[in-house]
C-alpha cells in the first residue's frame, strides 16, 4: 500500500520540481520584470501545489495535512499580493504611487 503512496509522492514531487525549473528558466531568459513575474507565479502555484500534493501521502495525521494545505494557500495569496505590488513598482514610466 505505502509503495503506491511512495510512487505517487515521487511522481508528484518531481512534477513540481519540473515546474520550478521551468519557472527559473523563465526568470533567466525573459526580457523584462513583468514577464518574469508572470513565470514565477506559475512556478509558485503549480510547482508548490504538486509538491504539497506529493507530501500529503507521507504525512501522518490530518492536522499536519491541513497545515500543509494552509501553507500552500497562504503562499498563493501572499504571492499574488506581492506580484501585484512589485509589478506596480517595476512598471517603467508611470509613477509607482
Amino acid at each position: 500500500m505505502n509503495l503506491a503512496f511512495n510512487g505517487l509522492t515521487v511522481v508528484a514531487v518531481s512534477a513540481g520540481a519540473f515546474f520550478f525549473m521551468a519557472g527559473t528558466v523563465g526568470l533567466l531568459r525573459f526580457p523584462d520584470a513583468l514577464s518574469r513575474l508572470h513565470t514565477l507565479t506559475k512556478a509558485d502555484n503549480l510547482g508548490l501545489g504538486l509538491i504539497v500534493l506529493g507530501l500529503l501521502f507521507q504525512v501522518e495525521g490530518p492536522f499536519a495535512a491541513l497545515k500543509l494545505i494552509a501553507v500552500w494557500l497562504l503562499t498563493l495569496l501572499a504571492g499574488a499580493t506581492v506580484t501585484q505590488l512589485i509589478a506596480r513598482t517595476a512598471r517603467p514610466g508611470t509613477p509607482p504611487f
Binding site: 495569496l77 501572499a78 499580493t81 501585484q84 505590488l85 513598482t89 517595476a90 509607482p96 504611487f97
Partner: protein
Amino acid sequence: MAFDIGLAVLVLGVAVWTLAARDTFAAVIGFVTYGLLLALVWVRLAAPDVALTEAAIGSGVTGGLLLGASSRLRRAEIQAASEKPGATLRIAAVVLCALVSAGLAAIVLLLPEPAPTLAPEAAANLAATGLGNPVTAVLMAYRAIDTLLETVVLLLALVGIWSLAPDGVWGGFPGRRHQADAEGVLTFVAQLLVPIGILVGIYIFWVGSVAPGGEFQGATILAAMWILAMMAGLVDAPPVSRRWLRLLLIAGPAVFFAIGLAGFAIAGAFLAYPVDYAKLLIVTIEIPVTLSIAATLALLVAGPPERAPK
C-alpha cells in the same frame, strides 16, 4: 552537510550578484533573495527566532523599503553612472576586503574548542522568568534594558524621519496617497490577506513566550499588513499630529518603563519581576510594545509627512 555547502555557495552567489547588478531594482530583488536564503541558514543554525526576524525584517520590510526607494530614484541613476571610482581605489578596496575576509575566516577557525557559552546559565534561570522560550527570556528578563532602549531607538529613528518633512506640511499625512482601482485584483487580494496576516501576527506574538516567535516578529507582520492596506489604498496613513497615533507610538516604551520602575518596589531592582508574577508582567509589557513597534515600523516605511493636514 552537502546541503549546507550548497546553501552557503548560493548565499555568496546572490550577494555577489546583488553588488554586481548594474540596475538598482535588480540589486534590491537580489537583496530580498539574499535575506530569505539567510533565513534558511538561520534554520540550519538552530535559531528559529532569528530566522523569523531575518525573513520578516531583514529581507521583508527592508526589501520593501529599498524597492520603493529604488523605483523613486530610477530617474537619478542614469547621470550618476559616470562617477565610477578610479582603478587604484578599486584595487585597494579589493586588497583591503580580501584581508578582512581572510582575517575573519582565520579567526573563525581559531575560535576556542570548548566554546564558552551562557546557555546553561540561561536555561537554569528560565524558571524564574516563567517563560518557555529562552530567547524571549533573554530579551524580556535577563537583558530587558537592551530591548527597552531598542524600542526607544526605533522611536528616535521615526522622529528623525518626521523631522525631514518640509515645514509647510508638518503634522500632515506621511508618504504619498496610494491609489488602486476598487475592483482591481490588488484591492481584492489585499482585503483577503490583511485579516489573515493580522491573525498570524497575533499568533506569532502570543506563541513567542513558549516557542519560537515573539513581539518583534509579530509586530513586523502586523506592520506589513498595515503597509499593505496603505499601499492598496484601503486605508490612508494617519496624520502625524494625531494625539492617538503618538500615544500608540509611545505606549510600548512607556509601559516598559512603568513596569520597570515598579520593579523597584515589588522586586527590588529596575526591570526585575517577582518570580510568581513574572510571566504575567512580561506579557503585560509585550502587548503595548508589539503594538508600538508595529505602528513605528509601518510609519518608518511610510516616510516623512508629504501632504498637508486638512
